[in-house]
Amino acid sequence: MKKLFFAVLALALLLAPLVIESSFVLHMFILIFFYIALSVAWNILALSGNVSLGHCAFFGLAAYTSAVLYIKLGILPWFGLVAGVAMALLGAIAMSLPMLRLRGPMFSLATIAFGEVLRQVAITWRDLTAGSEGLTIPFETGWLYLMFSSKAPFYYLFLILAVLSIYISHRLYYSAVGYHLRAIAADAEAAQSLGINTSRVQMIALFWSAGITGALGVFFTQYVYMIEPEWAFSMMLFSVQPVLNGIIGGIGTVSGPVLGAILMTPLGEYLRSYLGGLHQGFNFFVYGLILIGVVMVAPGGIFPSLVPLLKAKGWVRNGPQETTPSSPPGNPPSSKETSA
């Protein structure tokens, strides 16, 4: 049953661009694939209990590296991709310092600061990045330039990226590294006392997470055709959104972020397109209410809440372990509050 479902889904996704004529619908698919890949990539790090709110740093670093190399030196985006991912990994090395020394919310705040600093640097270093005025990618088409005049090649490109991201996440999750990551998320000190090299394991997660995010930065820039600091280092678009997707879908699982991205991306677009014109800010107001509502109803995320249902249908065997980063190590588990 499960295999049939996924086979049909795969076929439908592969054939979609051949039947769908609307450029916009294909664009929506591309956006969803992009956010699936981004949310899954972010989640790889979150598996360890490190909630990063600075992933826009990796996105922006790689995007700018590739864009600047292309525009100023004519270096093709494929090489820009390698250089961009390398830059993102350098950024990961920088982020590893706070990651290994700080816990929970302190780490998250440090990552926010990290993203903000890079954004400001991109704005101020005008000689390199053209500052806030931004850079537009000169018009070319073809696989050589990773830019196309129709949507179909972009569609397949981002579909492949989404699948790759899920695949990497899946392999990591079910490997020894993944197991160790989840152990660290549950109780880092206990994991360490069991002999797990927590630093090494977290670094692995961080590098995969940052590397995929960086790659996405390069490809997405070639899709949007321009780059500027507020966008490339946007906290809302590339740091917070994948986290929201992950939380809605269920952190600590592979499918959670996928589900979250599939649900939240069209929702945000739909609200903005159809409510945005009605009254200033109304669409975001509704979006925020939905966010709060979903978290209240399904605090662990939608996917984990569905697990019992899916288990009954035989789609999930062992179910995801609940590894949402709960109270930090050292505190007794929070006991149910009786009405005082």
Partner: protein, 410 residues
Amino acid sequence: MKKVFIILIMVSLLLPGGFMGKGDSRAAEKLRVGVIYPISGPMALLGEESFRGAEIARVMRNNKGGVAGQQIEYAFADIPDVNAAKSETERLLSQGKVKIMTGAYSSSLGLAASEVTCRKNLIYFSVEGIADQFVERGYKTIFATDPRAKLFSAAQVKFMQQWLAPQLNMKANELRVSFIHEDSAYGSSVARNFEKAAKAGNVKLVSVIPYSPKAVDLSSVILNLRKDKPDVVVAVSYAADAVLLGRQSKELGLDIKAFIGNGGGHSLTSFQEALGPTTEGILNVDFTQFEVNYDFCPGLKEFVATYKQMYNKPPLSGHSTCSFVGMNALFDILEKTKGDMDPKVFRPAALAHELPPGKSANGWGVKFNEHGENIWADPFMMQWRDGKLVTVWPKGPAVMEPKLIKPFSK
């Protein structure tokens, strides 16, 4: 029970997928124009103001019979960020049965939207967005009606040479100028152009000081100025930062001979409301505002009246007029093409279209060069006098002579 809730939520979240197939099919009898502005997010203030100008243009033109016998209809989308600009443009051009895009107030948003539009070989008619890049990319389907950033700096340098320096009994090349600017696209583009213009005009640019418009405190900008001791400060500010700069300049006793703003926050009525008499004497180069020679700006009175009627308040700044004039130019061109938006027909019509300066609601002319740049649009120099932003230069639109008043002294 909880499970039911969750399933209900999932279903309702998936519903938006339904909208993906829906297209707007009422296209037939109306002239549809795609219109995008940021009316939420950090640029909401002036994005909304600009959109109002565009809306007034539509209402007024429809009252006069529309364009080529058809009523004009806007397919509007809010674009708070670059991703939204791309998505909405894609949506309007694809589902929305729109063949021409206009907007967008913000240069970066407009650049993103125009990339999408021009790469599909459709017309992007930019009515507001001063970045030089709009017309430097080699696209043949882009037109920009408002003046480019370089014209703002050119106007400032010219004003300094022709009026300010003589008033101060100095030679133009003796003037010491400091340039402060908010570091978004707007401020940065004007700054870059000013650096070039100052060099060409032989004006001594002592320092360029960027700052973030979101800053809570700008005393460091003022203290830097105190160190540099310029004669003239040229400033590009966004919104609340203009007020903050003015207040802290007064508090910290900034001693300069002249202050020239560059639109944005310095043109807003809220600037005057917040600073009161302290605004006296502040110069400001910008899109046409409202104390201007009405003979040079036919239709401006009617515009202001319509604005007050539709929105119960006078216009916030000249951004609305900018979009208004731009949309009118679009309608004039479409009238000539009988509503045809195909670039093969539109482009020659646009290139052939001419409106001499002094004939539009804000005094701009319309004449596009081959890059799509309107070479007959010019910013004017204004000055805050007695709580009003009056046009003082050049002679055509001016209602008053400029006066040398020490800034922040009242």
